[in-house]
Structures are given as C-alpha cells and as structure tokens.
C-alpha cells in the first residue's frame, strides 16, 4: 500500500517535471498569488493604520472638559481621572502669567502652571519638568533661543522676576493644545481649578471611558468634547472594510485555481489513461493532492513567506498582522480544496469518451 502511494507520488512528480514549462507557469502564478496577497493587504492595511495612528497622535482621543459658564474645573478631580483605567493622562493649567523674557524682551510669553498630567497629555512621552524647572514650548524656544540646560529669566508685568532651568524643549509643536507651544510650563500640585481638563483616552477604552467622564463631571462641567476637528477624520473600520485589497485573496485564489485547472484540463486524457490503467478515485485524489501541493500550495506558501519577509515592518502591527493572516488563511483554504476540484474536472465522466475525444 505504502509502495503504491510512493509510486503514485513519484509518477506525479515525473509528470510535472516532464511538463516543466506548464509546471513553472502554474508555480509562478501560485507563488505570486501568495506573495501578492501578503504584500497588498499589508501595504493597504498599514496605510490605514498609519492614518489612524497619525490621528491618534494628533489628539483624536484627547477630550477637554470645561467648567460651566467659563468657570474652571476642579484640578484634583481632573488629576484623579488620569489614574483611571483606559486614560493615559489628564491635566490642565491652574494659572497663566504673562511675562517678558530677558533674552527676548520685545515679545510677550506666558508662564503656565500646569498639573502633573498635563505635559503627558500635550506631549506624550515627554518628561514633565521638576520643581525649579520649566518646559519651553518649541515656538517660544525658537524665538527666544532657549535650549535645554539654559536658565530662563523673566519678569512679570507686575515687575516680579522669576527664573527656572530649561529642562525640556519638545521637538515639535502640539496640535493637542497649540497655545502651549508659546508657553513656559511649570508643574504644580493639582489644587484649585484648571481652566479646562484635558483627558487623553486610550482608543481601546474610549467607549467605556467617555460616558464615565461625562458622569464624573456631571453638573459641574460641560460634556467632554474632542480637542481636534473630527470632521475630516477617517473611520478606520470603514476604511478597512472598503480597502481595495479586500477581495484580492479571492482574485489571487481564482487565478491560481484557474491556472491549475487549465493545467489539469490540458491533461484530461493523461488522467483518463491512469483510470484506464486501473487508478481508482483514491489514487487519483492522492495524485491530484500531490500535484496541488507541488504546483499550488507549496509555491503559494513560499510566496506568502517571501511576502512576510518583505512586509515584516508592517506586520509588526497587530491590525496588519491579523488582516494579513485572515486573508492568507482564506487564500490557502480555497487552494486546499483544489484536489477535489481537480477530481471533479478530470476524474469523472466516461474514460472511454474522454479517450475517444482526446
């Protein structure tokens, strides 16, 4: 029995090698189907992912809560929100003081006292200045020449002088609160009120956090609202659902299947000959399965592997990885039923008729 299987597989390989040109054509199409599915889906989904990440970085999930009728929001309540699960950071300004810097006396800047979570909301990942230090917004730093390590010296309009070591100058301005770009920020304890409470919500928890935020400030502040204009925002779910690469796996599978089917149809008489020589449907299925592996499944998997290597950076992102995996699974699932299709195409019907017609 085992020897019979070996003979069947050996014969299948010999046939494929004998028809190397046709074999190569099918193999190339299958490999291209596998590689292109990975590359197109990865590229397409990664583009959506990049847009999404850019929107998140810009502040799509940063919400502001303002006090009723221009009143501030309790700073402690705002700071407490920062400790919630699903909230990345929360904070606000407790005071803003107009000053003139010694190094740029012609212009007016603000020294803003902010609660500890504010810097993390406005410039995520930037360390907050310690006591006696300031964070200088990039526009203010650009026009005053202040750099990290410098000492900023200023005078308030009331004549009171102040100074602090420049701890941080963020590289880029922030779309989350552009006013901060022209300010010097000092961190103070969360007491009193903040002008508005900025809350950076984790996108994965937004559905739960936003209602809770409304309840938290209910009666003392307005409803949370995004700090950026969302009218031009892209909905990632819609974008992914409508992605151009969505039906590609089916097209790629169709091409691979059609090529393999054409290959088998061209050999209908050959396979009928095997039936004439006593090959039953089990033998034919084994043979077609072996040919499917060599012609289509193997090359498709090799193509997928090559695609994975090329698209490795994009595949580092879960959403890209998941969708590529889904489409590749669909592609391979279709290709896996090829032997049955082959059997239906060339393993049925009257042997006598096939041979007479060939």
């Amino acid at each position: 029995m085992r020897r019979a299987r070996v003979v069947v597989l050996d014969e299948a390989l010999r046939d494929l090698l004998a028809r190397w040109l046709l074999t190569t054509l099918v193999v190339v199409v299958a490999a291209a189907a596998g590689a292109s599915t990975v590359l197109l889906v990865a590229s397409d989904v990664d583009r959506v992912r990049e847009v999404w990440d850019a929107q998140v970085a810009e502040g799509r999930f940063v919400h502001e809560v303002t006090g009723a009728q221009g009143a501030g929001v309790d700073a402690a309540s705002c700071a407490a929100v920062g400790a919630w699960q699903g909230v990345r950071a929360a904070g606000g300004r407790t005071a803003t003081t107009p000053v003139r810097l010694v190094t740029a006396p012609a212009s007016r800047y603000d020294v803003a006292a902010v609660t500890p979570g504010y810097v993390a909301v406005v410039w995520p990942g930037t360390a907050a200045p310690l006591a006696g230090e300031v964070l200088v917004g990039p526009h203010a730093a650009g026009s005053t020449g202040l750099r990290p390590g410098d000492v900023a010296v200023w005078a308030e309009t009331s004549g009171v002088a102040g100074s602090a070591r420049v701890a941080v100058v963020p590289a880029d301005g922030t779309p989350r609160d552009p006013t901060a770009d022209r300010q010097l920020l000092t961190v103070v304890p969360a007491t009193g009120t903040v002008d508005r409470c900025l809350v950076d919500v984790d996108p994965d928890h937004a559905a739960a956090v936003l209602p809770a935020l409304s309840s938290w400030f209910d009666g003392v502040a307005g409803s949370p609202r995004p700090v950026v204009d969302l009218t031009r925002a892209v909905d990632p779910q819609s974008a992914l659902a409508a992605r151009a690469s969505g039906p590609w796996w089916a097209l790629a599978a169709g091409l691979a299947v059609a090529t393999a089917a054409a290959c088998w149809s061209a050999r209908r008489a050959d396979l009928a000959l095997l039936r004439l020589l006593g090959a039953d449907s089990g033998v034919l299925t084994l043979r077609l399965a072996a040919e499917s592996v060599v012609l289509v499944l193997g090359p498709a998997l090799a193509g997928v592997a090559a695609g994975v290597v090329v698209a490795a950076p994009a595949l580092g992102h879960a959403v890209v990885r998941d969708l590529v995996l889904l489409d590749v699974t669909r592609l391979l699932a279709v290709l896996a039923v090829l032997p049955l299709l082959g059997l239906a195409l060339v393993g049925r019907g009257s042997v006598f008729r096939v041979l007479k017609e060939s």
Binding site: R3, A4, V7, D10, E11, R14, D15, A18, R19, A269, D270, A272, L273, L274, L276, L277, G278, A279, S350, V351, F352, L355, K356, S358
Partner: protein, 207 residues
Amino acid sequence: MSGGLELRGVHVTLGGRHVLDGVDLDLAPVGSVAVVGPSGSGKTTLLAVVAGLLAPDAGTVLRGGRPVDARDVAWVMQTTPLLGARSAVDNVALGALARGCTRAAADAVARDALDGLGLGDRAGTRVRRLSGGERQRVAVARALVQEAPVVVADEPTASLDAHARDRVVQALLAVASAGRLVLVATHDRVVADGCDRVVDLVAGRPA
C-alpha cells in the same frame, strides 16, 4: 470456457440508436480475434463493453464466469492515449507499475518490451516525438507489460502506412502468441487476415 469471454444478449443504445443489438459471442481465452464491419456497426462499442468501460443496457459480459474487471483489459486505440511529455519507456513502465511492479522492475520490463518491438533505441525519446507507428507499438508494449489477459485494440493501424501497420500487427500477434486474447476492431483486411478468427459485425450483431 475457462478464462474466455462470454457475451450474452448484449444491448447498447447510444443517442437513441441501438448500437449493439443482442450480441451473443464466445471468445477463447487465447488467440487473436478481428472484429470487422462497416462504420457505425458497433465495433468500438463492443470493445468498450468487453473492457468494462461501457455498461450494456441489457445482457452480460463475463470472463471466466465473472464480470470483466477493467484491470484485466489493456487498450490500444487508434489514437492511443500516451503521456506525450514522457519517454516511451516511462509510458510502457506505467503498465507494469499499474500491476504493482517497483520502479526499477517496471523500467526493466518496459525496456525489454520495447526491445522486443524494435523500439529499443527509442526508449528514451519523448512520445510526442515518435511517429504514429512507433506510438502504436509503444501502446502495444504497454499492453504487453500490463500482463492483462485481454488486449482490445480499436483501429490500431488506422492512419499508418503499410510498413508501420505491419509492425503493429506483428506486435499484436506477438501478444496473442504470448498467451493472451487480442481483440482487434479494424477496417483493414490485412489486419483481419492475420487474426485467428474474424467476427463480422453488421447492424450491431455478429453476422
């Protein structure tokens, strides 16, 4: 008739036409039999029924008292199915592989058979590069190594020149001499004359 073929009341209707109309025939287990008759007389259909490739609408076909097993029959056709991309020896070896030989044994048997039919020097040639007569001899060689007790040949010499035809006929008769039953459907009187027995089929039944 031990091992011989018995056809009793075989009826086959194809496309509304009675192709075989109550054929009764007894054939010895060894020898050569020519089935002759005009086009449409049912020669090919008779062979297909004998080979078990076509089930009769009525009647029985028995070999040694049992229904014919398709593996007991080797075919040679006018355009014999061969694997065009494979060599002659590969095609012949298929017959031996089908009966369970190892690859090495099948190749050896195939080369011997091709040698015996004068095709030893063409063993490694792809079938699609062989002439029509050579292809037919490859088919006969395959039938030979298949060791099927019955060989049916459907117009094996059609479209061959006289020289090629003679070689194919010699090959088929050699198969019969090797102890098989060779059943040949033919229009060619030369082929029929070379056979041990001639069955004349007229309007779907032996005359």
